[in-house]
Each structure stands twice: as C-alpha cells, then as structure tokens.
C-alpha cells in the first residue's frame, strides 16, 4: 500500500510540475495493473487502492469524482480477466506491455475527451503522449521482467 501511495504522490507531483495531469504517464495505474496481473493474492486490496487513488485524483484534478476510479477499476478487471483466461505460458511480458499501453491510452483518451478539447487537439496530445508513454512502459516492463526472473530463481 505504501508503494501505491508513493507512486500516486509521484504522479501528482509531476502533474503539478506539468500544470495538469494530461501529459503525465499513469504511473499509479501501471503499478496497480502490475499488482493485478502478478500479485493475484492481493487483488481485492489492489481494486480498493485503485478505487481510492482514482477518487482522490478526480477530486484533485478532474472535479468529477468517479471517472478515474471507474475507468481504472474497469481496466484492471478486464486485464485480469484476459490474463487469467490465458495459459501460464501465454502470460508474457509483451502482453503485460500491451495491457499497460492500452490501459494507459484508454484512461488518457477518456480524460482528454472529458477536458472538452477539440478532436484534432485530442489526436495531437495522444500522439505526443505516446512519445514518452512507450519508453516509460518499456522501462517498467524490463524492470518487471528482471523482478520476476529474480523471484523465479
């Protein structure tokens, strides 16, 4: 839980520095997705952490409490369901990266639409976001692969 709080604060501080959350990677969502996929035993705690983090994030940045919590919990449930339907051999780091990317892009897209931006601006910001979302996801996935390999040994 402490790691969740720390990552949430990290994302919040970056949002302050960037004068808004639009251009900041969803670090908290990535952590929660990681826990949902790789730490199955604590899934209920992960769900409620995601919910609480989303509500507080909405109260701080969006003004619509429930939007982020709904989207992030839904992403968590769908990703976990897809993950569990696959055989263990299919649960690769590449699939994790895809879940991270799609979850993050979906939440960002919803936030941009909610912000009331014109369609072209949404497209432009989404493309700009990919420029650093992808490297962040890459680094996080390399770290996860390293962590999981160490635990398997």
């Amino acid at each position: 839980m402490l790691s969740g709080l720390a990552v949430w604060l990290f994302q919040d501080l970056f949002s302050v520095l960037a004068s808004g959350p639009l251009m900041v990677p969803e670090a908290f969502l990535l952590l929660m997705l990681y826990r949902a996929l790789y730490r199955a035993e604590s899934f209920p705690a992960t769900v409620w952490s995601t919910f609480a983090g989303g509500v507080v994030f909405d109260l701080r940045w969006v003004g619509f409490p429930g939007v982020t919590s709904f989207l992030t919990v839904a992403v968590l449930l769908v990703c976990r369901w897809l993950w569990l339907t696959l055989p263990v051999s299919g649960r690769t780091i590449g699939l994790t990266a895809f879940f991270f990317w799609s979850g993050q892009t979906l939440v960002s897209l919803a936030r941009l639409i909610l912000w009331g931006l014109p369609r072209m601006d949404i497209l432009r910001i989404l493309l700009m976001q990919q420029g650093y979302f992808l490297p962040v996801i890459g680094i996080v996935c390399v770290f996860i692969a390293h962590l999981e390999r160490k635990q398997d040994v």
Partner: protein, 262 residues
C-alpha cells in the same frame, strides 16, 4: 478454489465500479463537491509545496528566456511610465502615496490550486482564505485586471467566480466616454460588455473598468479593452466583446485585493 477466488475478485471489482457510478451521480452538483475538493487540495498542499515552488520557478525562468525581447520592451515602457508616474506623484504627492501604500498592503499573491475542466470558465480555487483576510466578494486580479471575485471563502482556500462565468454580472464603465454597461461572460471564455445603447461612438481599444454603481466590487478596477467584435440585439443594444487584461486561459497565480484596500 480458483473459481471461488475469481468470484471474490469480481465481487470487489463490481462493487468498486458501482460506487464509482454512484459518485459520478454527484458530479453535476458542484456545490456538494466544493468541500471534498477543498479538503483534498488542503491535504495535498503540503506534499505539493516543493513542486509548486519548482513549477513556478521553472515557468518564470522559461518566460524570462523565451520572452526576453518582449520583457525588455515592456521594461522600457514601464520605465517611461514610471518616470511619468513619479512626476505625477510629486505633483499630487500626498494622495497618491497614501493610495499606493494602501494598495501595496492590500494586494496578496495567491496560487490557483484547482480548476475543474467542466467549470473551466466558471470558477477556480485559490490558496488564500479567511486567515489571509479574504472575504466573500473580494476582487481577484491578474496583471492588475479583474479576474473575478470570491464566492465561497474557507479558512485557507477560496472559490473565485471568474468574469468569464455567465452568472457573474459586473457593472462597468467605459473610461473614455463614461458609458455604463454590464460585463458578463459567455461561459466559453468570452467576456462581453452588454447593454450599450446603439449610436454611441465607441472604438476598439477603449478601456473598461468596474463602475462606481457596483455594490459587489470597488470602482476603477480595469477589466479590459473593447475589441472589434460586437453584436446587436433586437432591443436596440450593442454588446462588445472585451479583450481582458488578465490572461484567463492561463491562470497560475492571481492577486487578491483584500477588503482593507477599499
């Protein structure tokens, strides 16, 4: 066993989703959300303080580098104006000095801590409240021009209704002609001077300030200048769009004109 675990997981997930939807039902009621938003902003203001300081320093630095030429031009202009004001001050020394001292002690800088996207042109939350001498109805300025006025004031935070809000009506006067009208926003970023009778010889660039007849704001606070955009109503009035002195789309910090200045 696995199915049972999956069932429990789904149960927690679905309850969280339902709670989120219930919370969303409160979203249209902005007044109900004010207290929780203020509370979250108050709690987070402590860990966010270094990032706020760093962010404003970075913005100042960026502005300094990228707008150096503009700043130098502005500096020259201000130096000339300062010379003229200095001369004027000597002429009308006593009154001007007293007013300047009063204004200096009454203007307090404040950071914008929250601006909801669905109420972007309606209200902002600032980090000054009752303990800083802010009261309900206190004028809020940026670049010396009116941004709005405080509505709900709490101990450390205040909600400010913006001039772009369609519900804030400010009696105003055109300085050059003394024509009276009402300034109101259109809720979409535009600010308009309403109810000017047709046939008045007004030209773009004329200055609009708060009027003496206003009960909610002190007179003489600059709001903006008349732009070329105008529209006529069937009742024989003309509305002029204003170019506001404050940069309302980029509000990071504002000044609060505390009541003792009035």
């Amino acid at each position: 066993m696995r199915l049972r675990t999956l069932g429990t997981d789904w149960f927690h997930g679905l309850v969280a989703l339902v709670l989120s939807v219930l919370l969303l039902a409160f979203a249209p009621h902005r007044e109900l959300l004010r207290e929780p938003v203020t509370f979250v902003a108050a709690v987070l203001s402590y860990p966010e303080a270094p990032a706020v300081a760093l962010g404003s320093a970075f913005r100042r630095g960026t502005a300094w580098f990228s707008e150096r030429t503009t700043l130098l031009d502005r500096l020259r202009f201000l130096e000339r104006e300062n010379e003229r004001l200095g001369l004027a001050t000597h002429v009308a020394n006593a009154h001007v000095q007293a007013a300047k001292r009063q204004l200096d002690s009454a203007l307090g800088d404040s950071q914008v801590v929250f601006r909801a996207p669905h109420a972007w042109w309606t209200e902002i939350l600032i980090d000054k409240g009752l303990k800083d001498g802010v009261r309900s109805g206190t004028p809020v300025l940026q670049n010396g021009s009116l941004v709005g006025r405080t509505t709900v004031v709490e101990n450390s935070f205040s909600w400010v209704e913006l001039v772009t809000s369609s519900s804030l009506m400010v009696p105003a006067v055109i300085e050059e002609t003394r024509d009276l009208g009402v300034v109101a926003g259109d809720g979409q970023g535009g600010v308009w001077l309403l109810f000017i009778p047709e046939g008045r010889s007004l030209v773009p660039g004329m200055t609009v300030s708060t009027a003496m007849i206003s009960e909610i704001l002190p007179p003489g606070i600059p709001i903006g200048r008349l732009s070329e955009q105008k529209k006529r109503s069937e009742e024989g009035f003309v509305s002029y769009r204003l170019e506001t002195g404050a940069s309302l789309s980029l509000l990071y910090s504002v000044s609060v004109l505390r009541p003792k200045a009035r």
